[in-house]
């Protein structure tokens, strides 16, 4: 299973990371094939249940990425998200997931390169972790 392409769901905020991802795309930065972007207005609206759902459905990892602290279009949605993700990481093992399958980052609108780099790195990390076994079980 070493050479599988991890499926990553990325919840990105409309104002910063989505723009960065777009920039990465239009600047032709090579990206791993299995990243699926879900545009949210703000990371503050990312309900933990979406993440758990994604993992239960077999996503190998989930990325939540928004504006830098102090920069959220809605004042502090990203800080709320940060708190939420921290707690979620603590309980993920109870659902049988490695907490490293969830990652939160700040990527500003002009940081297309950072976006590509984050996704690339994350893909490598998740590859090392191996497939979400829920998925293998389901496939089987």
């Amino acid at each position: 299973m070493a050479d599988y392409e991890p499926a990553i769901i990325a919840f990105v905020c409309n104002w910063c990371t989505y723009t960065a991802a777009d920039l990465a795309g239009t600047s032709r930065l090579v990206q791993p094939p299995n990243v699926r972007m879900i545009r949210m207005m703000c990371t503050g609206m990312v309900d933990p249940k979406y993440i758990i759902k994604a993992l239960l459905e077999g996503a190998d990892a989930v990325l939540v990425s928004g504006c830098h602290p102090g920069d959220c279009h809605y004042i502090n949605g990203n800080l709320k998200a940060r708190r939420r993700m921290k707690l979620l990481k603590e309980i993920l093992p109870k659902f049988g997931f490695d907490e490293r399958r969830l990652k939160m980052t700040w990527i500003g609108a002009s940081e297309g390169i950072d976006f590509a780099e984050t996704v690339r790195q994350m893909t490598a990390e998740v590859k090392a972790l191996g497939q979400n076994d829920l998925r293998t079980r389901m496939v089987l």
Binding site: V30, M45, K80, S110, G112
Partner: protein, 1141 residues
């Protein structure tokens, strides 16, 4: 010709122009926003990070109410608003007519690439053989002659830099859509006549110009030229001044008779420059100096040629014009000495900013361009080309101090704290709100070094490092080596300001910026033409945004007074069909451009697999959806299919915002039932990407969109209204200005003043630094306020409490002077409660009559005007109790007030000795000239540090004695002045009570805290509540006026509409699930939620709600739902996303 009532032209699409354009568009006026550059954003498109968050945040300027009329994505990428026509690459060439009825001529730059056809694929750039420095990266990198002016724009279309282009036409050949037309034919058709008696000159000119693609004829004499001239049609004549027989001037006269409009360039040797200049008076267009500088010559010829191909003469009619053409930076290379700018590794602040940028030359890594070494020691040199009499820049650029501190901090952050940053400065001008704390944190927490010194020599070391030699404040010599030197290049008027001013018919000030009224700085010298942003001179972002608001207020008031009405708002919401009872019927439109141009994308098979997945879906292909014809065919297909939801697979979704709004109007389907998916970007193959993965990506993107649409809530948006009246609290300059601004737009204002008479703090100031008596201003404002029937003034009154009223308005109770209570209903509130001079116990204040405060001196000077004996010696101490913990901010006005008073005292008694003890002299902007003047007049400035303040004691008989250290003399001094004046600074009036009543936060210094320092400087976080004047931050009279106007402008955006449409993406509550736990109320950052006691439900203020979803994420029962992002929709997207991986 296009005619418009209620319309305005905004020149310059930088932040200030965007702000003004949005202001007027939000008021439902029609706006033309032009910029001579090919993109919007101005200088900010190059700056990724801004103080104080050290990030961006520009998007916060976008409308918060009625926001669906404008774009909802990163503002640096682009902007649309249904009331704004954005015209990049356009200049104004004439402005005729009267205020209220201007006729404007617009010319647009020739374009060699058809924007309708360009798909931004970049093949042209790949084959272009020309490389020139990329201005976007400050010249640190190279770009092609066919290039993207800004890498992140949407839509991003390639441009041709025709000056650099060699017309090899390679790009024309590879362009897959035939968008490029270099018009080589047009060049060849442009015939140039070269007239010179010397063969070598003629020949070499011909050679150069033919290489440039022009056709050239030659004549050896004036007579020969006239001959040729009569039988040929020339586009340009190059005419030598000195020729035997008929000389150039004579020939020119004849040419002018035959062809009065034909461009003629005179050619002259140095000896005959005078004649050439003379020739320009009789109609030559320009002159060229021999020996020729080929580049300059070609540029001038190309310029003439371009005039013939510019798209000329679109004429529009507007009521008012706002000039927001911005400013530029000085070019250190062109200054004497150049501060080492010719050396490698000496860059300007702007270039450094590009080095820091992720999209810049180092991809955000902090490395030295010369050798790729990580930057570890960086020196910032302040005041390059500012505060410099030799360069005729007797002004402070106002922005560089904070700019450099920010860059130093970013360098620290990017290097993980490893880089050392030292700022060499004269005065650290931290005069704005919270600037001082930012500086202190930079110094104390991040270790940025602040060195007060002027670097006199920069020597390069062998490895490219730079050795700086400088003298410290006490005269000590130092030397230090840095990896890089960053020059804080000062501000200059933008190139082309002079021409622009000429076509606008406005005057410029001696520094070359727009000449404005002293107190009302939004007024230019021509009525109806307003000055916004840094075009009005030296402003940072926050002040530019305020100035922009003030300019748009001026414009809207004028438009209104001349009968221009806001455009009647179409209620799109009402016109939309209600599909909530229909079965979902979904169509997918695929833009064929992705398949034909990308090659290999099999749209057919996508269609098949989608219909296989869900047979009810209809799929059709559209040829280039983004074009007009594409849209038409989309509309037809949609009508035919009878779908009530559509997912459009095309390119960048942001691009389609405007189209969806229009489609919604045409089809009657809410934009919430349409979605655009990017199937274009995933179609780019990386080196190893498997085609199956590409189609997987695209298919899943489409399925995600379908999933999201199917669970969409199809209900229409709501139209809301507020009581169209305003409450203004405070009757000082700010309050009165704001009240008048609103009342002049025809809305009722209640103005509350706690004193017997309006007037406020300005009453204790007698003159401005320019010498204008303030009493005139106050009297005028008071009489205007009293005469205005729309304003009710309540003096000696106080606010008791304020409550929500009739849904979205307020009911405020005030205590009146007779002790009774009165209730006032209003939709918006402006807090302009003002400030006062701070009190002090320092420096023996109160112990002698000879120690007074600045305002006491003002009172004295105001009254005595020549009566009493002027004092023989006066000392002033600045920053009393300010800029140190306790009151760690600069009061902004004390330095200029001290200078004003000192100059006045000096005038009354030229023999008087004047001493000013200061920490940093804060004469920002044009105030610097008074500092220069004061020094010339012999006023003595003695610097002190907060650690070693001057020591004041009172001798018997009340005589003041000051002992201090003079760093320039390097020794202790003792002064015994007749008078000691303390600049104690400004504090706000107590706001805590009011802040609570209106839910406006108050900062640690007691000022109102704005929603966002830079982008929303007058807003509170709560809807409909604004602050201005000293209640917000210390400011001068003209600055307070501008801010009051900006606040009134924001308020008017709400008042000006009968109905305001709520956003499509707003939260709602599913009552059956709600347990009234109130967590959502706490989570909402806008205070948009409240619990209605009588109905016992959670209510949502849909105007305040911005759709951020914080409420939905905290709701334990999923009762709180954001439209467009409901759980069902997100879950459907997750499902679809994982299906194919």
């Amino acid at each position: 010709m296009e005619t418009k009532t209620g319309s305005a032209l905004v020149i310059g699409a930088g932040i200030s122009g965007i702000r003004s354009a949005l202001d007027l568009a939000e008021m439902n006026y029609r706006v033309f926003l032009i910029d001579k550059s090919p993109h919007i954003g101005g200088i900010l498109s190059q700056l990724d990070y801004q103080f104080p968050t050290d990030h961006c945040g520009m998007c916060k300027m976008l409308p918060t109410i009625g926001r669906d009329a404008s774009s909802q994505f990163c503002l640096r990428k682009g902007l649309f608003h249904e009331n704004i026509e954005v015209l990049p690459g356009t200049e104004m060439t004439a402005l005729e007519g009267e205020p209220g009825n201007f006729r404007v001529t617009l010319d647009s730059a020739p374009s060699f690439i058809d924007a309708q056809k360009c798909i931004g694929c970049g093949r042209c750039s790949a084959v272009c053989p020309v490389e020139v420095p990329d201005q976007f990266n400050g010249g640190l990198t190279k770009r092609k002659a066919v290039y993207l002016p800004v890498p992140h724009n949407i839509p991003n279309r390639f441009m041709i830099d025709i000056a650099a282009c060699t017309r090899c036409a390679e790009c024309e050949k590879v362009c897959p859509t035939g968008a490029i037309d270099l018009r080589t034919e047009a060049r060849r058709a442009f015939r140039i006549l070269v007239v010179d008696d010397e063969l070598v000159v003629r020949d070499s000119l011909k050679e150069w110009l033919v290489v440039e693609g022009f056709s050239v004829d030659m004549a050896a004499s004036g007579a020969e030229a006239i001959d040729l001239f009569s039988s040929n049609d020339y586009g340009l004549v190059l005419l030598d001044v000195k020729m035997p027989g008929m000389d150039g001037v004579e020939a020119l006269q004849i040419i002018r008779e035959i062809k009065p409009d034909l461009p003629v360039l005179m050619m002259t040797a140095y000896a005959t420059v005078e004649t050439a200049v003379q020739a320009m008076k009789i109609g030559a267009d320009d002159y060229l100096m021999k020996p020729f500088d080929i580049e300059a010559l070609v540029a001038k010829v190309v310029q003439q040629y371009e005039r013939t191909v510019t798209v000329k003469g679109r004429v529009i009619e507007v009521g008012a014009v706002i000039m927001a053409a911005g400013s530029d930076f000085c070019d250190p290379a062109r200054t004497p000495g150049a501060f080492g700018y010719n050396l490698p590794n000496v860059v300007t602040g702007l270039q450094f900013e590009r080095l820091l940028s992720g999209a810049g030359p180092g991809a955000g890594k902090l490395i030295r361009p010369s050798d790729g070494r990580p930057l570890r020691k960086i020196a910032f040199l302040q005041c390059i080309g500012s505060r410099d009499l030799k360069q005729k820049a007797d002004y402070c650029s106002s922005v560089c101090c904070m700019f450099s501190i920010k860059e130093a901090l970013l360098a620290k952050a990017k290097s993980g704290g490893e880089a050392d940053a030292a700022i060499f400065y004269m005065d650290m001008r931290t005069f704005g709100k919270d600037f001082q704390r930012y500086r202190d944190l930079a110094e104390k927490e991040s270790g940025v070094r602040f060195i007060r010194s002027r670097v006199h020599t920069i020597d390069p070391d062998a490895d490219g490092s730079l050795r700086l030699h400088y003298v410290d404040g006490e005269g000590g010599q130092h030397e230090e080596v840095f990896d890089m030197v960053v020059l804080a290049a000062g501000q200059r008027p933008n190139r082309g300001t002079r021409d622009l001013a000429q076509s606008a018919g406005i005057e410029l000030n001696p520094a070359g910026f727009c000449l404005t009224d002293e107190l009302f700085q939004n007024r230019s010298s021509r009525e109806g033409v307003f000055a916004g942003g840094s075009f009005a001179g030296l402003r940072d972002i926050s002040e530019s945004v305020i100035q922009a608001g003030s300019a748009s207020l001026g414009a809207s008031k004028l438009i209104r007074s001349k009968g221009g009405a806001p455009r009647a708002s179409e209620r799109t919401g009402a016109a939309l069909q209600d599909v909530s009872k229909e079965l979902p019927s979904l169509a997918v439109a695929l833009c064929a451009c992705a398949s034909s141009l990308r090659g290999g994308l099999d749209l057919e098979s996508f269609g098949k697999s989608l219909t296989l997945w869900d047979p009810s879906i209809r799929v059709f292909q559209i040829e280039r959806v983004c074009t007009l014809s594409g849209r038409k065919s989309l509309l037809e297909n949609m009508r035919e299919s009878g779908c009530n939801m559509i997912s459009i697979g095309a390119c960048m979704p942001c691009l389609y915002g405007k189209m969806l709004v229009e489609l919604a109007k045409e089809t009657g389907l809410s934009a919430g039932l349409m979605d655009v998916v990017d199937i274009y970007t995933p179609a780019f193959r990386g080196d190893r990407t498997d085609p199956r993965q590409i189609s997987g990506r695209i298919e899943s993107a489409l399925k995600m969109s379908i999933g999201r649409l199917k669970s969409a809530d199809p209900g229409p948006t709501r139209s809301l209204s507020i009581i169209r009246k305003a409450l203004v609290i405070g009757g000082g300059i700010s309050g009165m200005t704001a009240a008048l601004a609103i009342a002049d737009h025809g809305f009722h204002v209640d103005m509350i003043e706690k004193d017997v008479d309006p007037g406020g703090l300005v009453r204790s100031l007698y003159r401005t630094i320019e010498g204008t008596e303030t009493s005139g201003l106050i009297e005028k404002l008071i009489s205007d306020v009293r005469a205005n029937t729309n304003i009710s003034v309540h003096t000696e009154a106080e606010v008791v409490d304020s409550k929500p009223y009739e849904g979205l308005s307020f009911l405020t109770t005030i205590k009146t002077k007779d002790g009774g209570e009165k209730r006032l209903d209003h939709g918006v509130t402006i807090l302009a409660t003002g400030g006062k001079e701070a009190t002090t116990r320092e420096y023996c204040y109160g112990m002698s009559e000879s120690v007074i405060t600045l305002h006491e001196l003002e009172a004295h000077l105001g009254k005595s005007a020549g009566a009493a004996e002027p004092p023989g010696s006066v000392a002033m101490i600045q920053c009393v109790g300010s800029r140190e913990e306790g009151r760690n901010y600069c009061s902004r006005v004390c330095c200029s007030s001290a200078l004003k008073n000192a100059l006045r005292l000096k005038k009354e008694n030229p023999k008087a000795d004047l001493f000013i003890f200061y920490r940093d002299i804060m004469t920002y902007g044009f105030l610097e000239a008074y500092y220069t003047k004061a020094r010339q007049e012999g006023i003595i400035f003695i610097r002190y540090s907060p650690e070693a303040k001057p020591d004041v004691s009172i001798a018997d008989g009340g005589k003041v004695r000051i002992s201090a250290r003079d760093p320039i003399l390097g020794r202790d001094i003792v002064l015994e002045p007749d008078l000691l004046v303390l600049s104690t600074g400004v504090v706000p009036n107590d706001l805590n009570g009011l802040g609570q009543v209106f839910g406006f936060e108050v900062n640690e210094d007691g000022f109102f805290r704005e929603a966002e320092y830079k982008w929303q400087p007058v807003n509170s976080k709560k809807r409909g509540i604004f602050a201005c004047g000293l209640a917000h931050s210390p400011r001068s009279i003209s600055e307070a006026i501008a801010m009051a106007q900006a606040a009134a402008q924001r308020a008017l955006v709400m008042l000006n509409r009968e109905e305001i449409e709520a956003g499509a993406v707003v939260a709602r509550v599913r009552r059956s699930l709600c347990s009234l736990c109130e967590r959502c109320i706490a989570a909402c950052p806008y205070g948009a939620r409240s619990r209605s006691e009588e109905k016992d439900i959670i209510e949502i203020d849909e105007l305040a709600c911005q759709g951020c979803g914080a409420c939905a994420a905290v709701c334990p029962n999923s009762a709180s739902v954001v439209r467009g992002f409901s759980d069902r929709q997100v879950m459907a997207m997750v499902d679809a996303a994982l299906e194919l991986t």
